[in-house]
């Protein structure tokens, strides 16, 4: 029984599935059996991932129901509202399908505007961050400040009107140091992800498996 409860089987699953994905990427064209099994497993992940979404639903429901039962001050009403709108939306979306007018109304006039507004609130945060961070304290922050301002003046149509040099310098910064740093980071990230991937396949990266049973 302890074999079943232990780590050997999950590590085994990760190793086999992981190797199959790698083999499929390099030998997939030549080994149709591997390719079809890989596609099958990838379709399976879509279903397992869907069940994980339900785990999320349970997690949030337990939290807010707990707030309701405890009548936690200043919170229980919001928890009630969150649960109500969530389950109403699920009912509308599942039984009425996503074409249902109620679902569409909530989606178009509540969800989308808040989604767009949250995204747009970044305009405030990026301005205050720029104001605080672009301060010529040392060599590094001077470089950060100068390349940032040059690119801003390259993007804004008014920049060209002030001085036609901005787009030229901006293009250079965009095509040389910018690409260089990104490629260097990308190359080193691959090393890190492959090393971490290998540790995970061999069961050494214990993080996601937790404690010895």
């Amino acid at each position: 029984m302890s074999l079943l409860k232990g780590k050997q089987i999950p590590i085994g699953i990760t190793l086999v599935v992981g190797l199959m994905m790698i083999v499929n990427y390099y030998f997939g064209a030549a080994l149709p059996a591997v390719k079809s099994t890989t596609t099958l497993i990838q379709n399976w992940t879509v279903i397992v991932a869907a069940f994980a979404l339900i785990i999320g639903l349970i997690n949030i429901s337990r939290i807010h129901i707990n707030h309701l039962l405890k009548r936690s001050k200043g919170q229980w009403f919001f928890s009630l509202w969150c649960l109500a709108i969530m389950y109403i939306m699920i009912a509308l979306g599942l039984f009425g399908t996503t074409k249902n007018p109620g679902y569409q109304w909530l989606y178009n006039y509540v969800f989308l505007p808040v989604d767009a507004t949250m995204y747009s609130s970044l305009a405030f945060f990026i301005s205050s961050a720029a104001y605080r961070a672009f301060r010529a304290r040392n060599v590094e922050s001077i470089l950060l400040l100068s390349s940032g301002v040059v690119i801003m003046l390259m993007n804004a149509p008014i920049g060209e009107i002030i001085w036609t040099g901005f787009p030229v310098i901006g293009d250079w910064i965009m095509s040389v140091p910018n690409v260089a740093a990104q490629r260097a980071i990308m190359i080193c990230v691959v090393m890190g992800s492959v090393s971490l991937g290998l540790r995970t396949l061999l069961g050494m990266e214990r993080g996601y498996l937790g404690r010895e049973e």
């Binding site: 990427y25 497993i41 339900i54 639903l57 969150c82």
Partner: protein, 205 residues
């Protein structure tokens, strides 16, 4: 009738927009209300997508096409719920092992090719201009910053000490550029919301 619903909708959308913008000013129940609405709707939308996938793809294939292999992902998915029971919690690791296996496999397989080699290939092809040569050299210098262990002592005193500092300078130029370039995207989004508030809601246009 229809345009009344639309008009109500616009007022509701505008109300929510102002609730969200109240965040930086003060911790008001308005933002908290918009927050809980947003979380509720967000979870509902993805849960519906998940349940539809389960029904259409898995259960649908079993019932209509008799592909019984789909039983396996359904069982694995159900195994996730064993986490809530102390006794069978170990079973919940099996589906996670499958997900991690696919993720690690897909990332290890493709990332070496798409991110590592493709970047090196495009750097070393047609190095006929000063900029291209400079680009390659800057990449090499920036990589030295990420050396962790081999040549550690060299890093403190030797050549790497200077190249890794130069690497940081190159990265700072890059981060400044990315930061400056992002300002336009964020402003574009905010302009979109102002368009909505000024013209669709207040109808000033």
């Amino acid at each position: 009738m229809a345009d009344i619903i639309v008009e109500i909708g616009i007022w509701v959308a505008a109300a929510y927009t102002l609730m969200i913008y109240s965040y930086p000013y003060k911790d008001t129940p308005l933002f908290k209300f918009a927050e809980h609405t947003m979380i509720g709707l967000g979870i509902a939308i993805t849960t519906i997508m998940g349940i539809r996938n389960i029904l259409d793809i898995a259960v649908g294939s079993i019932v209509n096409k008799g592909e019984f292999a789909w039983i396996i992902p359904i069982l694995l998915g159900l195994a996730l719920f064993t986490r809530y029971s102390r006794q069978y919690a170990w079973l919940s690791r099996w589906p996670l092992a499958l997900l991690v296996g696919v993720g690690i496999g897909v990332s290890m397989g493709s990332s070496v090719d798409a991110s590592f080699l493709a970047q090196i290939r495009s750097t070393v092809t047609g190095v006929n201009t000063l900029n291209k040569a400079l680009l390659g050299i800057m990449i090499i210098i920036t990589i030295t910053y990420f050396i962790f262990s081999i040549g550690k002592e060299q890093r403190e005193k030797g050549a790497f000490k200077y190249t890794s500092q130069l690497g940081r300078y190159v990265m700072m130029l890059c981060f400044g550029a990315l930061f400056g370039n992002t300002i336009m995207t964020r402003m574009a989004l905010f302009i979109g919301r102002m368009n909505f508030l000024l013209f669709e809601w207040l109808k000033l246009g």
